[in-house]
């Protein structure tokens, strides 16, 4: 089994935590994991990209080859589209938050951006911010996306939840609950 995930968004959207949650859940199931992050200049508000590769055998390349990702998990719609060439044409799914981050002067028309995603064969567009707010904290939007992704990932729901508990335990019970709720909202979201 091989399962490649591209995580993308804009700096400060919590991509690394998502990567950690999925990686820990995968390891709890005995899978091998390779995870690649971006630091330094490329991180300074620009595009953020993490690659996460799961497999029964150790994935070789730290970065995902083109056309091989099973999932793009995008915190920002334009960023999701940027990595389309990495998504498998046969079986890849795009999951993206709908809220644009317009920190550039020439951001394309948002309706066209969303239409582009809607035209993909397998996609979920979700207002992750709204669901996170409903769960109690807009910053849990990244975990809403994990919830949506949980319907596609080859991982058990319980292992993902455990990984969320583990990650937020340090920050107190209240935040654990909010994030678990965010996960549920994402998981039950019907597009």
């Amino acid at each position: 089994m091989k399962y490649d995930i591209v995580l993308c968004g804009v700096g400060g959207q919590g991509g690394i935590s998502v990567s950690v949650v999925i990686a820990r859940a995968a390891m709890a199931e005995g899978l091998r994991v390779k995870q690649s992050e971006v630091h330094g200049m490329s991180q300074r508000g620009g595009e953020v990209l993490a690659h996460l590769r799961l497999g029964t055998e150790e994935p070789a390349s730290p970065i995902i080859p083109r056309g091989s990702a099973s999932l793009i998990l995008s915190f920002e719609p334009l960023e999701g589209l940027r990595y389309l060439p990495w998504l498998s044409a046969e079986q890849g799914t795009m999951i993206s938050a709908v809220t644009p981050i317009k920190n550039i002067p020439n951001y394309p028309d948002i309706d066209s951006v969303l239409a582009e995603i809607n035209a993909l064969p397998r996609k979920v567009l979700v207002d992750a911010d709204a669901l996170a707010r409903e769960a109690g904290n807009v910053r849990a939007a990244n975990i809403v996306l994990v919830g949506v992704a949980s319907r596609f990932l080859p991982l058990k729901e319980e292992n993902l939840k455990n990984a969320i508990r583990e990650l937020f335990a340090r920050k107190g019970e209240a935040l654990v609950d909010i994030n678990l709720k965010a996960f549920e909202y994402g998981r039950n979201y019907n597009s």
Partner: protein, 536 residues
Amino acid sequence: MAQETLMGDEAIAYAAVHAGLSGAFAYPGTPSTEIMETLQELAAKIPQDSPNRFVAQWCTNEKTAYESALGASFAGRRAMVSMKHVGLNVAMDPFVNSGLVNINGGLVVVVADDPGMHSSQDEQDSRLLADFARIPCFEPATQQEAYDMTYEAFDYSEKHHCPVLIRITTRLAHSRSIVDIRDQKSQNLIKKPEGMDWILMPAVARRRWKEVIARQSMLSEESNAVKWNLLSKGSKALGVITTGLALQYYKENLADYRAAKGSDPMHLHIGFFPMPTELIRSLYETCDEILVIEDGYPYVEHLLRGIVPGKPVHGKEDGTIPYDGELNADIVRKALGLLENKGLMVKNISLVGRPPQLCQGCPHADSYTALKEALKGYMLYAVTSDIGCYTLGALPPYSAIETTVDMGASVGMARGAAEVGLEPVVAVIGDSTFYHSGLTNLLDAVSHKTNMKVLILDNSTTGMTGAQPTILPSSQLEPILKGCGIDPAHIRILRAHKMDNEKNVAVIKEELAYRGPSVIVMVRECLEALKKARKA
């Protein structure tokens, strides 16, 4: 056996500690920064009275870091110095000469290259510099190898009495996988070297150089038998040579290659230099064609191609693989003659880029606003700058700086330009970069009374690499400037804030009108550093 999920940088830090490290020294630089950050985290966990305690320190620059590590080795203890590739240029003097001394405690030099220039000014390949200094170089392919090679490099360094370079690249530094951890070794006791082998005066250096040359040819021989260099059988139609991380991109495609062509190529993987010449020769002689895959310069390929025509050698020099940029599995796939993998394509919108930007509210933005306003009205002027977040001031909406070359160059270049008549000239430099390499240039300016202005952006941090504290706190900057001989009337300390803009513009204008060396310090803390402090 214990296991950890580690980034390449972390794996190196763990391995050094487990190998009995006594002292580690570094200057931050992507992609090497996390080595020292991890060492400091590990150091903080060791109890006060444990014999495993070690020092892990940020230094003023890579040269000072290197020399500290060298001193620790002289004392007989195990030492590591880590830096990014261009940092090795700064440390070149101690680096090359440390190849000539009789290394005592194991000395491991970790250099993180940045092919693709994700966060750098060039793509230089440190394997060639190891060769230049005539010292051995390890090039790991995985996080596990990064761990194992570092762990063993200390023994290797002590056995052969030479520094050992470990060359990694961004992708290995910043990706994680599961690593098997080895036993904790105890640290060396203090034991000074005997004899005169650390006194590189000509008579000694001449003798040592002969010994180094002999050592290198012995290591070259040994390179054919080390476990890191592996020749494996395969079809004679194609011989593939990989080095370091390139192995992983090759492996990624191997199953498809086998399916398409019926068999594996003959393959030599190189993880240790000097080159395993016998192994390379044996592959070359057996195969009809050779493909060399390496991330960085075509180092092995260039040697193999030589200047006398021979068998077809493919790689970067013949365009089979792009000469510049970072290697990846897709490039290797194409080089192996396999069908390109295609994903999906965007159809109706243009994927505009999202270039890096200063954080919202960054003090540098306010400094640039004030500087630009103060310079209005001058027909001719120059603003040189340097390396850090403030380099982003080159882009709109600021478009405020005209040069970025190397650490500290802003001050030296401003001086040179001013000396030949370009006035006014302003050098914009961060506090960390100023300490790193700007300070010595300022002494030149004082000595020659150069008419130039230095704008020090003092945010008390090395922001770009994730907010490491500067070597000295803000309060020390003014006394240092005074001590250098800058006239106290022309050391102006301002708050880098838009609320102070009017005053800041006025002061900068005054200094522009003054004909002599002056320094304007724009003070306000980096937002990332504030965030980090709040978290801690």
